[in-house]
């Protein structure tokens, strides 16, 4: 700023550049609208996506996008509402008594888009490609225990595990890495981690046209084995900025805005209130949770944790900050996941109770002071939040105000997301925001991190008197082959966690969508990462 001779030249320059940018944008947009109206057939939709779709390789992670990977590639089994597992590319399967051998019978008549048949050989080839890079998939339970894949006959294969792991089937419903690439897509050495030659899948959609960072067009797969989608074409436009997406939608360039966080809550409500568009929100996909770290000696006391939970008006906070788009949560895991339907006594907003708990814990309010003390130490805690997340920030400020009323001083620290995750993993925090993984990862991924060190959650629980017992139960539940036993274990684990209040559930996060009136039959997929396009119809006008 000290480089310019005159401040006025800066002013002039900035005004000119603003105008240039503004006019540039409008020109672009009008140009593309006119293009589209000519080429757009009635039976297609256009939607926005915040970032490039990445490589359409079924076995890799970011920057590949789950949405487009799930359009081209399909799983052996699919995840449906309530955690029900349905046959997909596998027609049926059986599990051996000891839970170590899974035998899958594949669906007949499925073809890849290169014309090659889907059979046990290609399944093995895909699994082998994934196992070649085991380390990059180690977060996924089934890959860790997977020993080998055996081809039994043309349409049958066996999955051999090294130890029993009940969620194995559920893990196979994920979008990545266990989905299937056709023969001609493989590179010569069969190692897909370095790239594939072409995106050949069995799925309902085929990539038709693609320009990096601009758009991707998918056409309906004419030879799809299942029920053919209604739409002929799906165009995905890459628009990184949320407000630009809304403007493009209002201009009619987009039929649909979909995706988690793709639209701000303010804009969502604005579009909803105009009444000119359709809006919807999904079932809970995850829980926004506070993590009270029990390794902090103040928070090690259950009474303090309960006091904090009683000490803020959750309903008002959720309604006020998320503008009603999230729902107040009493359960740590929402009950639409398997095994999570437990009896929970909601923790009410009651500052008197909170004060009583703190008194009982020995934190007294000295006369003339506003912060409680014990043995000369003030009751002071720090909450960390992702500083790019406006909801976390607003909630931190609300908690600070509310807890100060019960004599707890809360300091607020905004962190870079990477720092926040580092601190969480190292267990170096007092209070943190945490989210569970959602369908189809939960509830097993959730209980896994409660026991498994290295993710911050187990660390936060480490001062619970029953921690060892809890870990034991988690191991048993994950290995259990008996449904009733498993249900019992889950019930016991979740009840203990609710009672111990290291997790403080705040709200259920929901996905949102906005679409034009001529788009029909939008249904949120049960799997939070799966594409929603198969059912959509477009009314011809």
């Amino acid at each position: 700023m000290h480089k310019f001779k005159s401040k006025k030249s800066i002013l002039l320059a900035s005004i000119t550049s603003i105008f240039l940018v503004l006019t540039g944008c409008t020109n672009n947009e009008t140009a593309s609208t006119s293009n589209e109206s000519t080429e757009e057939s009635a039976n297609s939709i256009t939607l926005s996506w915040p970032r490039d779709i990445g490589s359409l390789n079924p076995h890799v992670y970011n920057p590949s996008q789950l949405l487009t990977q799930s359009m081209v590639y399909e799983p052996l089994v699919s995840y449906e509402d309530g955690g029900e597992i349905q046959p997909h590319l596998a027609e049926s399967w059986s599990i051996s008594e000891d839970g170590l051998e899974y035998t899958f019978k594949l669906r007949e008549g499925v073809k890849f888009t290169d014309g090659s048949p889907f059979n046990a050989e290609i399944v093995k080839k895909n699994f082998d490609a994934v196992l070649k890079n085991k380390s990059s998939h180690s977060w996924l339970g089934v890959i860790n225990v997977l020993e080998e894949i055996k081809v039994v006959d043309e349409m049958t294969f066996k999955m051999i595990l090294s130890e029993p792991y009940y969620p194995a089937i559920q893990d196979l419903a994920l979008v990545r890495p266990v989905r299937f690439l056709g023969e001609s897509g493989f590179p010569e050495d069969g190692d897909t981690s370095k790239g594939i030659t072409e995106p050949v899948g069995t799925g309902p959609w085929v990539l038709e046209d693609y320009k990096k960072d601009e758009y991707a067009t998918f056409a309906r797969n004419p030879d799809y084995w299942g029920e053919s989608p209604e739409l002929e074409k799906v165009t995905i436009k890459i628009i990184p900025d949320a407000e630009t997406r809304v403007l493009a939608f209002e201009k009619g360039e987009l039929d649909l805005i979909y995706g988690e966080g793709a639209i701000s809550m303010d804009s969502f409500n604005y579009l909803k209130e105009t009444g000119d568009y359709q809006t919807a929100s999904s079932n809970p996909v995850g829980t926004r949770t506070l993590l009270l770290n029990s390794t902090n000696e103040k928070l090690a006391d259950l009474n303090v944790r309960l006091a904090l939970q009683h000490g803020f008006d959750k309903a008002a906070m959720v309604e006020g900050i998320t503008l009603g788009l999230e729902e107040k949560a009493d359960n740590i895991l929402s009950t639409n996941f398997p095994y999570t339907d437990i009896e929970v006594e909601p923790v009410d907003y009651n500052t008197e109770k909170a004060a009583a708990y703190l008194d009982e814990a020995g934190w007294k309010l000295p006369s003339g002071k506003t912060v409680r003390e014990k043995e000369g130490q003030p009751l002071e805690l720090e909450i960390m939040y992702d500083k790019t997340d406006p909801i976390q920030k607003a909630m931190s400020e609300t908690l600070q105000a509310e807890w100060s009323a019960i004599g707890v001083k809360l300091n607020i620290k905004g962190e870079e997301l990477t720092t926040q995750i580092e601190r969480r993993k190292a267990g170096k925090f007092d209070v943190d925001f945490w989210y569970n993984y959602g369908a189809p990862y939960d509830p097993h991924s959730f209980i896994n991190v409660v026991a498994e060190k290295g993710w911050g959650v187990s660390e936060a629980h480490s001062n619970l008197p029953m921690k060892a017992e809890l870990d034991q139960q988690v191991q048993e539940a994950l290995a259990s082959t008996d449904e009733t036993k498993r249900k019992e274990l889950y019930g016991s684990i979740l009840t203990t966690l609710q009672e111990q209040s290291v997790f403080v559930p705040i709200s259920y996060i929901k996905k949102t969508v906005v679409y034009q009136n001529d788009v029909k039959e939008f249904i949120f997929p049960a799997n939070r990462d799966e594409q929603p396009f198969n059912e959509i119809e477009k009314a011809s006008n």
Binding site: M1, H2, K3, K5, K7, K8, L11, L12, E243, V246, S264, M265, D266, S267, N269, Y270, D313, A316, M317, E319, G320, I321, K387, T388, P390, K393, A394, S396, E397, T398, Q400, A401, E402, I412, K413, G414
Partner: protein, 277 residues
Amino acid sequence: MISSIRVGAKSNWAIAICAVVLLVFFLVSILAPWIAPHDPIQVNLALKLSSPSWEYPLGTDHLGRCNLSRLLYGARVSLGFASLIFVASLGVGLLVGTIAGYRGGWIDLFLMRFCDGVMAFPNLVLVLGIVGLLGPGLWQVVLALMMVQWVYYARMIRGMVVSMKQQNFITAARISGSSTGKIIRRHLVPNVLPPILVMGTLEMGWAIMDISALSFLGLGIQPPTPEWGAMIQEGKNFIRSQPELMLYPGLMILLVVISFNVLGESLSERFGVKRRY
């Protein structure tokens, strides 16, 4: 419009108006606890995003906090810390500038090359780097801004000291047996200060912009303390339904920075102070 400012800047009117505006802002920031209608960090979600009323003259923000009170308290942060940066970097600059200018030789060479080094980087980049190292927080931002601003004062003061050193009154003082320290304190500093204060007026505007910019990026002041840049950042999420949440603090920054700049320019033209060297 710009040329009319230039014409206007030459007149005493511009000086008077800007001075009054700034005086009002300074008064407001000092008196904020008494004139603000509400506690600026008091959250009341039941009243969030309410429209202006007698109780809340400018309405409330997304957490139901009084906008007017937050703006008034925000003035404290902006003006207070900008002044602090100004005084601190002036102090360092004065020390380094006079020593380098008066002593000359390799000390001068070393200090001035160091200043050149700092000046070679765009300021905001350097500040972002320092804040990145120290971690976010208002004091870190103040320290970082101070660390990059003092060099400009040092350069300018050194230039003035070098030319002043040749003049007769300094020689006279030296002949009559004054010590170096005394010459610097009694003869150099008083002569250097007035033009530097004029330059400082301009720098204040930049300091306010920088503090706001860094707070907007989430590096400066930490919530819930009200600050104009941070208020713009919070208002950004409600740009559709409540654009005024961004407009109020934006207008405040505009007004204060323009006042400082016009005042600084008018003063320097009037007193013939060269702003840059």
